[in-house]
């Protein structure tokens, strides 16, 4: 198994953990954290391919991670603002209770 | 770090590197870099721990003098001859250290034991890490990173987390309030801090601290140093940086997280003994690290202010400038009362951030107009640079202080 495969395995493990958290937990903040973890797992792949891929040294991988981190920051800010708004409106951050927009 | 000392420097200049080479020479080649790294870490730890000990005394003395008291002057070093056992109270830090070490370490029953223990450790570790990228002298930097400034702020981010850990794990209302305050404050002031650093990075074209110091080398007209602080945008940036640094290191007048009149001791309430001493140490380390960064970014780093004075070794110049900034920290602490929370955030978001953004444009103008020919045009350039930052300062200042200043006091002049 090459180093690249190991990195990809690691990233898929992290991705699954994030996915499980997003699906199983019902706390809005933890769901958001799970999503962040999935994003990180994806970033890890970019760096892994940048480092060990056949086209090593091309800066696209690094660039993509940088942009991804920036977007993740924006996502976290908006997501947590939403969480705060939800908690203010329904006095709870249980996602199962956030059903006001349900048709 | 493992580069040999260049022979062109004076002997005094090379002493630290020679000592390092001497010690690493005892070890076989493959592990020399490890030894060199450990040596650098150890030196930083020892030097700055000593400076910390002396600073605690100096700060108390200075604040005492400002309040027309003598300050601690009785605890001496009893074994020193001819001093009757007291040398300006130089034994005070030692006594404080012994006291902190021998005090009982109390952990509240309901505290989060692990986090309560980890908080001071993390705090000191991260605040020490920031020293790694500061060039203390010519060729005197532990790790010459390509993205050193970024590293500095990344490591500094860890200290905020530690403050939160301390506040939350104590299971105490005041600690928690302090933690929230600390978070709000640190988030607010991270922005102007970074924004005031961006112009420096922009004009130096580098993120490495050694590169930024090198960009400030040389003399204008043969005697005016090319330090960034001497340009209009640099001066403004330095002031913004300094204010933000005051807030980032939780120093007065921004010491809301440990406002003793409101929050007992803030996030330190439930800490005692050596852990408390660690927090105290980390505060000083943070102050010294931020001062060191300020010296590096704006005050020309380790460079001498005049060509003639270059005979004095560079690390002494760095130390002198660092001391100057720390004295400024203390002077401000002795002068200004603590801000209120809303004043604190307002200052950051409505005053420092806009000014820092304007300063960014100012720096860009300075960079683009660097090639203007002739002295008169350069003077115009300087005037424009000053105007671009001073006019917004007045406008924002007037708007911010509308209705509150100047205050008149009935019974005080």
């Amino acid at each position: 198994m090459s180093m690249l495969n190991a990195c990809l395995l690691l990233s898929s493990a992290l991705f699954c953990l994030g996915l499980a958290a997003a699906l199983v937990r019902s706390n809005a903040i933890l769901v958001l954290l799970g999503i962040e973890l999935m994003l990180n797992a994806a970033n890890l792949n970019f760096i892994a391919f940048w480092r060990f891929g056949p086209d090593a040294g091309h800066s696209a991988g690094v660039m993509f991670v940088l942009f991804s981190i920036a977007v993740a920051a924006a996502e976290a800010a908006v997501g947590l603002a939403l969480v705060i708004a939800i908690s203010r409106h329904q006095r709870s951050i249980r996602l199962q209770e956030a059903t006001r927009l349900k048709g | 770090m493992t580069a040999p000392a260049p022979l062109t420097d004076s002997f005094l200049e090379r002493v630290p590197l020679l000592v390092r080479d001497f010690i690493t020479g005892w070890f076989p080649e493959p592990i020399r870099w490890v030894v060199a790294g450990l040596l650098a870490a150890l030196t930083i730890l020892l030097v700055f721990a000593t400076i910390f000990a002396l600073l605690t005394l100096l700060e108390r003395k200075i604040i005492a003098r400002v309040q027309n008291r003598p300050g601690p002057n009785r605890t001496g070093l009893p074994w020193l001859p001819f001093t009757e056992g007291r040398v300006f109270g130089l034994g005070q830090p030692l006594a404080d250290g012994i006291k902190a070490l021998t005090k009982e370490d109390i952990v509240p029953r309901d505290a989060d034991q692990v986090l309560h223990f980890l908080a001071p450790v993390v705090l000191v570790a991260f605040s020490l890490m920031t020293f790694a990228v500061i060039p203390f002298g010519r060729n005197l930097v532990s790790v010459d990173l390509d993205a050193a400034v970024l590293f500095f702020f990344a490591a500094g981010a860890g200290t905020e987390l530690a403050v939160f850990m301390a506040g939350w794990s104590s299971h105490n209302k005041y600690s928690l309030l302090a933690a929230m305050r600390a978070l709000a404050q640190l988030i607010s002031y991270e922005l102007p801090l970074l924004l005031s650093v961006v112009p420096v990075v922009m004009l130096a074209g580098k993120l490495s601290t050694t590169g930024i110091v090198a960009a400030q080398a040389g003399w204008k007209f043969g005697f005016i140093p090319r330090w960034f602080v001497l340009s209009p945008w640099g001066a403004a940036g330095f002031v913004i940086f300094f204010i933000a640094a005051l807030a980032e290191s939780n120093r007065s007048p921004f010491d809301l997280p440990e406002a003793e009149s409101e929050l007992i001791a803030g996030h330190l309430t439930e800490y005692s003994g050596f852990k408390y001493a660690l927090f105290f140490m980390a505060e000083y380390f943070g102050m010294m690290a931020l001062s060191g960064l300020g010296v590096t970014l704006f005050l020309g780093g380790w460079q001498a202010p005049l060509p003639v004075l270059e005979v004095i070794p560079s690390y002494l110049w760095f130390g002198a400038k660092l001391m100057l900034l720390i004295l400024l920290f203390m002077w401000i602490r002795a002068t200004l009362p603590r801000l209120r929370m809303d004043q604190l955030t307002r200052l950051a978001w409505k005053f420092l951030v806009p000014l820092a953004l304007i300063n960014l444009g100012n720096a860009a103008f300075w960079h683009l107009s660097a090639a203007w020919p002739g002295l008169p045009l350069q003077a115009v350039r300087y005037a424009i640079g000053v105007a671009v930052i001073v006019i917004p300062f007045f406008l924002i200042g007037r708007r911010l202080s509308a209705g509150v200043a100047p205050r008149t006091y009935r019974y005080a002049p």
Partner: protein
């Protein structure tokens, strides 16, 4: 301008910082155990007993154990036992003296009434304020050995008042001596006269013992501490 107040404040603190090194008006601290400020003359805390001879304070106490102060003391912190025998005082007159004179300073309230009632100027207020002891009972109960202090000490701590007292005592003593001398002279004259004329009337003889030989035995003087 925004920030001008900060600069003014910084100037004030800087002035204080620099001034504290050379301006004694700014820097008023005295390093207490080594340096001491002079206490005001009328400062008082606990009483002491005045002795005339510095080399033998207990033997030369002015106190004659009249126990007026003991009776007058509001918190009753004075305890006196009169001696059985007499011994000569400063003026040479035979007087009682306090065999025991204790003041419990943990009870004393520094009212100075004992000083005001003393007819002999024998008890005065002290200025020693470093009275901390490691023990609560016996160490705060001062006996006559600890209380007795020479007159020179009194002159040191209350110079004005001591001068007055000394002048008065000296005048009294002088008057007493003159009276005694006059009495002696009169007695001698009488004796001579009696020798010369034994038939002369002896009506003047009883006047001699009546004349006071010691100033202390005269009518109490009003206290001089006012």
């Amino acid at each position: 301008m925004l920030g001008s107040g900060i600069i003014q404040g910084l100037a004030v603190t800087a002035k204080n910082l620099v001034g504290s090194f050379h301006d004694p008006a700014r820097f008023t601290t005295t390093q207490y155990p080594e340096e001491r400020t002079k206490l005001p003359e009328n400062y008082r805390n606990f009483p002491f007993l005045v002795a005339d001879a510095a080399n033998d304070p207990i033997g030369s106490l002015r106190c004659v154990a009249c126990q007026i102060c003991e009776k007058e003391c509001p918190p009753q912190c004075i305890y006196i036992e009169k001696s059985k025998d007499k011994k000569p005082d400063a003026a040479g007159k035979q007087q009682f003296f306090p065999a025991v004179f204790d003041i419990d300073t943990s009870v004393c309230m520094s009212c100075q009434i004992c000083v005001e009632v003393c007819p002999f100027d024998a008890i005065k207020m002290d200025q020693v304020f470093e009275i901390a002891t490691p023990e609560r009972f016996n160490a705060l109960l001062l006996d006559r050995g600890q209380l007795a202090k020479p007159n020179t000490y009194y002159q040191q701590i209350h110079p004005t008042e001591a001068a007055e007292v000394d002048a008065r005592l000296a005048a009294d003593r002088k008057a007493g001596e003159e009276k005694a001398k006059a009495a002696a002279a009169a007695a001698a004259a009488k004796a001579a006269a009696a020798k010369a004329a034994p038939a002369a009337p002896a009506s003047t003889a009883p006047s001699a013992p009546k004349s006071p030989a010691v100033p202390g035995t005269e009518a109490p003087k009003p206290p001089t501490t006012a």
